[in-house]
Symmetry: C2
């Protein structure tokens, strides 16, 4: 699969895919005879993983470290687990903050709905 197809399928720009590879977030992708990237199964799975992690706000640096450990094999499992646990905690913390904000937004929206309704009532009363 060429870069354009991966780009379209996962809504990540080709520039970003190349960028991820350059900084070591995705290991080097195989090339065809003319030097063009040909994404295989494994590459695709890596792209999916990175996209998922990034969409939740995990920092690139941490992901680079994690991907590096994966490359080093089984003796890094403990370290990898610790990274994921740490990131998991931070993710949960962000979600808690977001839930609080969501509650406040919902409350404010409701107040505004009522304000609009009251205004409409007023108009009706003025007219009638």
């Amino acid at each position: 699969m060429k870069i354009a197809e991966v780009s379209e399928r996962y809504a990540i720009s080709s520039d970003t895919l190349r960028y991820y590879e350059r900084i070591g977030l995705i290991p080097l992708v195989n090339r065809n005879a003319s030097g063009i990237r040909d994404y295989g199964e494994i590459d695709i799975r890596r792209v999916e993983f990175i996209k998922c992690m990034r969409s939740a706000g995990l920092p690139i640096e941490v992901l680079i470290e994690y991907v590096g450990l994966v490359q080093q094999g089984d003796q890094t499992i403990e370290a990898r687990k610790e990274i994921l646990k740490e990131q998991r905690e931070q993710l949960v913390a962000r979600m808690v903050e977001m839930q609080k904000t969501l509650d406040i937004l919902d409350h404010k929206i409701e107040v505004y709905e009522n304000a609009v309704l009251n205004k409409e009532k007023e108009i009706v009363q003025t007219q009638g």
Copy 2:
């Protein structure tokens, strides 16, 4: 309340508080006789609100627009409501993404736990 106290209480640097004021995210704070900011009740509530919205990732630009509308009074209520609804939807979308990521992280962490346990078992078997 002086800037340092607000900064400490809400864990926002003085620089950031001044920055927010400069870009119009927080309306101009009153000053004492020597030109030093003196945050009052209303200012504090604005800081709290902005902190909350920012912690959920609402962009500064949108918040500036919203705060501007608030200053303009009641005839902007409808517009404000629309902004909040739009931001609410985006927030929910981000939270959904994060939940997916959280599930994957939890799964991976569990897999790693098992891997570590199996390794330990192996060692025990080797020893015993």
